[in-house]
Symmetry: C2
Subunit: 357 residues, 2 copies
């Protein structure tokens, strides 16, 4: 604590992101990165962007990228907002749409950055408890709210929410913004982008970090009707006019355009996910049906924290959350098939070993 810190700085509880180990000896299944490299067209686009124009500021509005995303989703340019990763888009959204005197609502088990944003902006929030099977409690979201935030599929549970449930939530919160965080939507979940035309209160947030293999480039985006996008632009332009650099913008355009590569990567990950899920079950794990690029799982007879630590000792990095209700679970990112084979083999031995004791 420093006397120079503002009251806000003293009181916030910053987010702690998954480890980024530098020694490279791990099979890294802890931050939901894509096991496949970005499209060769992305690599080419970056090399092309490495030119003398880097002396100039980028386009603050990212028009080329907005046009590309708008075309992809059958929207118009002014229905797209670009940010430095979907975390920044979320940070701007909380400030753009939520007020200090009204309680926003999100699930008790969801992306752990949401309460961090809320505390940063001194927003009150209430938590809706997930049901026993980790599905969301739709009724909780139909009361009086200052705004709604729901990840779909949810993280870290990987569980999908039905579009009809989201519709119901949108209808019951017509005066408030409903943020659907679709960071992982491309891995088999149904997107609600198609509802944007109908619901002016819907903001959909996506990222290129997961399904587009570009966690290293930092591009996320929000989709919504013009007045929501305007609101985000007002916040962004009160903080930083140029959040997306020239190289990142070009990389992102190339990534969105290479549909074939995208589909191939996503399809491989889904296949691997299903194989891994079956294997885990055969080892005695309970597996939440996943629509994401990770699996949320626990073993009824093995302590989650202990298993996490043992995996780590054996060069297998997964994510563990020491939080109520989920402190026996592990979140395992889907790596390449080879990585997952090694992972499963080692895990199997570890599990056998623990159970024999």
């Amino acid at each position: 604590m420093s006397k120079y810190w503002s009251e806000i700085t003293k009181n916030i509880e910053p987010y702690v992101c998954g480890e980024q180990p530098k020694d490279k000896k791990y099979i890294k299944l802890n931050t939901n990165e894509n096991p496949y490299p970005p499209s060769p067209k992305v690599i080419e686009a970056i090399k092309m962007a490495a030119n003398e124009d880097l002396r100039l500021y980028p386009d603050p509005n990212c028009d080329e990228l907005r046009d590309t995303i708008a075309e992809y989703y059958d929207l118009n340019r002014d229905q797209v907002f670009i940010g430095n990763g979907s975390d920044e888009v979320l940070a701007f959204s909380f400030l753009a749409f939520f007020n200090t005197n009204e309680k926003i609502i999100f699930p008790d088990i969801s992306y752990s950055f949401y309460p961090v944003y809320a505390k940063l902006y001194k927003l009150d929030y209430k938590l809706s408890s997930l049901k026993e099977d980790f599905s969301i409690n739709v009724e909780d979201f139909l009361g009086e709210n200052g705004g709604v935030v729901i990840p779909n599929p949810n993280a870290p549970t990987a569980k999908a929410i039905d579009s009809d449930d989201i519709k119901k939530i949108l209808q019951h919160n017509s005066d408030k913004v409903v943020i659907i965080d679709e960071a992982y939507v491309d891995f088999g979940c149904e997107s609600v982008v198609k509802l944007i035309k109908e619901y002016p209160n819907l903001l959909v947030i996506q990222t290129l970090s997961k399904s587009r293999c570009l966690a290293g480039i930092r591009v996320g985006f929000a989709l919504g009707q013009e007045e929501l996008i305007d609101g985000l632009n007002r916040i962004k332009n009160s903080m930083n006019s140029y959040t997306i650099d020239r190289v990142a913008a070009k990389a992102a355009v190339a990534a969105i355009k290479d549909e074939e590569y995208f589909k191939e990567c996503v399809s491989k990950i889904i296949n691997t996910r299903e194989l891994v899920s079956e294997k885990l079950k055969s080892f005695g794990f309970e597996v939440i049906p996943s629509k994401a690029n990770f699996i949320f799982t626990c073993h009824p007879d093995i302590d989650g924290e202990k298993l996490f630590a043992t995996l780590r000792e054996n060069g297998l990095l997964v994510r563990y959350f020491n939080k109520p209700r989920i402190n026996n679970y592990l979140r395992i990112t889907i790596g390449s098939e080879d990585e997952m084979n090694v992972f499963l083999e080692k895990l199997h031995k570890i599990v056998e070993n623990i159970l024999q004791k």
Copy 2:
């Protein structure tokens, strides 16, 4: 105005950045970009960074870049904070160190983003009037303040502030953070980085957008004692863990390391600036002595706004601020020698033309 906007969104006044024309027909002297391309080593570093590791998140702490900057300035890693351009670093700093119940202070004529940040965070501020010659009124900064922000050299005036004056301000505000915004310091102004060891309340902010020819890449940084850097990290990690992508971090490291190229570019710009200043005076302009990569100037017999518009029609883009005291001035970025020769030639004709009427 939208019913979905928060009170903050409704009340802020976003910053309007200098035009980024897309038709490319202008001599672009409006956003203080460097006329020279980035170092060839930067271009090479970007191409090298265009690899399969882009699927992975970047190092959230930017250790390699922090080490490079720390070594350059004889500081340690924990005295360096990296942000997405110095605008983001400023935005985080206002939130990290200033409180709503105390008035911060900055010059009335200075970077027009400061009041935007203040409004975003509902911070009160008082403006210190620059003296007639645009030098800062040191006495104003020695009273009771919630914090101090001063650009050195000042923008848009390009005028330098004496280090002894900054020392006095640091001493009189020992319980409050004093931000010295050194975005343009490399163009002949004395940096106060050397005072960091002595003053725990000093935060120096710099950028790679100007002297390092990298406006297109978005990297800025803050230098200060550990407790200030800690405060900035708390804010950053409550908004966005990964603000600097893998490519930008590598580009920035290469830019800082290529000292020879840096010195050459800066020296060329300073030479051109001095030549342009003399020429402008010979055309009858009043020129504030500049320690930046731009010149702030007015002609006693020509309306600034009109001159700005006429220059624009003639393909010469400079910056004009329609604000009290400076609404007759133009801010002219120093371009390459060739660009400035064309600029001066056209300007001369325009001036002659206006004066003959």
